[in-house]
Symmetry: C2
Subunit: 408 residues, 2 copies
């Protein structure tokens, strides 16, 4: 964890234990630091798993491992390494993941394919197998820890630990969902990645868990950006132990499936915003809502063009209602747009309408809105019904300091 | 012009007059500043014109005007306004462009469609027609100026004036090409745009001039990026007066066409790099050469993904050989790439090869290279023959200061 906490940080909430899920942490000493850096979570037999991973064409071997293991749908353990992403390490990186899965399977008496592995940190240095194995051995015999300790241990350049929870009523029973997540940019100095892990006691088949996670991901993790730099290692995994004893949810038609899917989406949204709130150098959380596009996909691309524009992000850092830069970012997105139908608002105040500045709009509420920590930018294209909302943070001297003012 | 000159600036060169081209400057006072801000260039009868303009879906009315006038292929005048881009100003912006063209046509006794107009500066404020007309009247009677004065007058947040020249032998005669350009980001405080203007005494038909400009643009202006933020107003226009008296170049098969096209491409490359050297906050000029891609287009997209990555740009600002960030940017480009075939070099030193760090590579020449002002990053994908080279600058505190540390 960094010593300077994001001004947008929120306190770590009280999170309940999830039956069938036991987290542990240990010191593998992947770097020379005085902290835990290996997280080991055991999962009850019969746990379902679903996941979404980076679309990078240069993924880490952990991502490739998870992608393959996810096809089987069951999980007995999760291992997370912090301080070394093991990405771009060739055959030695693959060997490290295989060794971790094998050692864990040996401890638990399960198949290696039941072990999910994620790593975050420096790129290009093979994860040291001896440290990983020693860390795993220590974690296996360690006293279980709470969610806060696990959230701290998966962090790298995060400035605060991130977790969230929610519940749903399924089949007459209350099921609980807990998630922890880390991420602060693609990275920072030599770290990388957003890793998110969700645990629930609900009984859910792997197929429906995956469908619900895909749907939630589309409107949450896929809608956040700190710097537009997609990591080699991004991974979100959801584990369902079934300990709540509900009749298993196996499709969207199951009783309670809607409630579960909504709860999962809510949890993913909470976790995604926690990452943006810890965006490198962030001082403002920015919501960009695009409406009136030709399709939802088009709206999403336009919203991301705005959210990734360094000129929009620096203007908001400077508390400047520079809607000309928003016009620019709409124009460069390459999506259908008609300048003379475009409307823009900051907060509740319309500043441009149908291709023109709103003459004599009241600047006071706009200035007041921009002074706050949570900024809303609304863009209506006036073309159709397509809509999308994405979240980002401002671009400040803090981002430059974190990423340029050092030598690796 | 800004008072703090880019550390990458180069001196304004001695540029010859071009027969048939007469530049003038005047004070239209688009802003309250003590400088010329209107440039008026008269062109001999029979001047051919070609141009490339922004692909933004929200272009300025100037861009729309030029796009239409270019279909006719002839030009008698160029008017450039600095301090107000006239973009996103609805019907009032269109009226301003029409008024400028009409007033100029009246002065010169030509068609309004022979008048090319470009504007750069704040977005969203209609260009004041009275000031434009008074400025034009003043420019029309003013003493002609030199290229340096014109280059200074088209500038906004540029930190130094930018011009270049070259020559070619066509049909036994020496033809001369001169260009001036402005640009420093999409912008700065509330300014925008790259505007480039090329003048030659060669006789060239509009069709071949356009073909040669398109070809040059593909490898020069389309290969530079400061911040990835495409302006609403980007425009490059090339004017050929024919005063050199060569047999007109009307196709790639004309005698001397190759020499002319090569000279034009050389001039465009010089001008494009002058813009990158004045990138907002830039301290290093970065060349990114991608080879071994599946196609040239794929190589270009990968090179631009690297050039626009804030993490790559901040790493180079920090003189950090962080090739992991280059891997990340290749991976996120969405183009064909195979991690285990990827090789990366900084300067002449190979740091990663076939998906792995080069073990024990000599860090001294890499560190020395990164301390310089001109940085080369080479990426070979090992897949095919596709290649592309693009240029960008680093991302520094200077960029944030220029774009965030103020209120418009």
């Amino acid at each position: 964890m960094s010593s300077s906490i994001s001004p947008l940080a929120t306190p770590f909430p009280a999170l309940p234990a999830i039956a069938g899920v036991v987290p542990h942490v240990a010191r593998a000493q992947y770097k020379t630091w005085d902290r835990c850096d290996l997280t080991f979570v055991t999962l009850a037999e019969g746990t379902s798993v679903a996941g979404v991973v980076t679309q990078s064409k240069c993924p880490s071997p952990e991502v490739e491992w998870c992608r393959k293991a996810l096809t089987l749908g069951t999980a007995r353990a999760l291992v997370v390494n912090a301080g070394n992403s093991n990405a771009f390490t060739g055959h030695r990186g693959r060997a490290a993941v295989e060794a971790i899965a094998a050692r864990t399977a040996q401890h638990l008496g399960c198949q290696p394919s039941d072990v999910f592995v994620a790593s975050t940190g420096v790129i290009g240095v093979p994860l040291p197998i001896d440290k990983a194995e020693a860390g795993l051995d220590a974690a296996f015999t360690a006293t279980p820890c709470d969610w806060r300790a696990a959230a701290e241990t998966i962090g790298t350049t995060d400035t605060y630990p991130k977790g969230a929870m929610t519940t749903a009523i399924v089949d007459g029973r209350t099921v609980t969902l807990v998630g922890i997540i880390k991420g602060s940019g693609m990275i920072a100095p030599d770290m990388a990645t957003m890793l998110g892990f969700i645990f629930t006691d609900a009984a859910v088949t792997p197929g429906f868990l995956q469908a619900a996670l895909n749907a939630a991901n589309r409107n949450t993790f896929s809608c956040i950006t700190v710097d537009g730099d997609t990591s080699t290692s991004d991974t979100v995994l959801a584990f369902a132990t079934g300990a709540a004893g509900n009749a298993p949810l196996d499709s969207a038609d199951s009783d309670g499936a809607d409630a579960f899917a909504a709860a999962l989406a809510d949890l993913c949204a909470q976790l995604a915003l926690l990452v943006v709130r810890d965006g490198e150098g962030a001082t403002k959380l920015i919501e960009i809502a695009v409406t009136g596009a030709e399709s939802d996909a088009s709206a999403h691309r336009i919203a991301m063009s705005i959210a990734n524009s360094p000129l929009v992000k620096t203007a908001i850092a400077g508390e400047d209602a520079n809607w000309g830069r928003v016009v620019m970012a709409v124009g460069k997105a390459g999506e259908p747009a008609e300048r003379d139908k475009l409307s823009i608002r900051f907060g509740e105040t319309q500043v441009a309408r149908e291709g023109l500045a709103v003459e004599g709009y009241d600047e006071a509420p706009v200035a007041a809105h921009l002074k706050g920590q949570e900024i809303e930018v609304g863009v209506d294209l006036g073309l159709g019904d397509g809509a999308a909302t994405v979240w980002t943070c401002d671009l400040t001297h803090g981002y430059i300091s974190i990423n340029a003012d050092y030598r690796s």
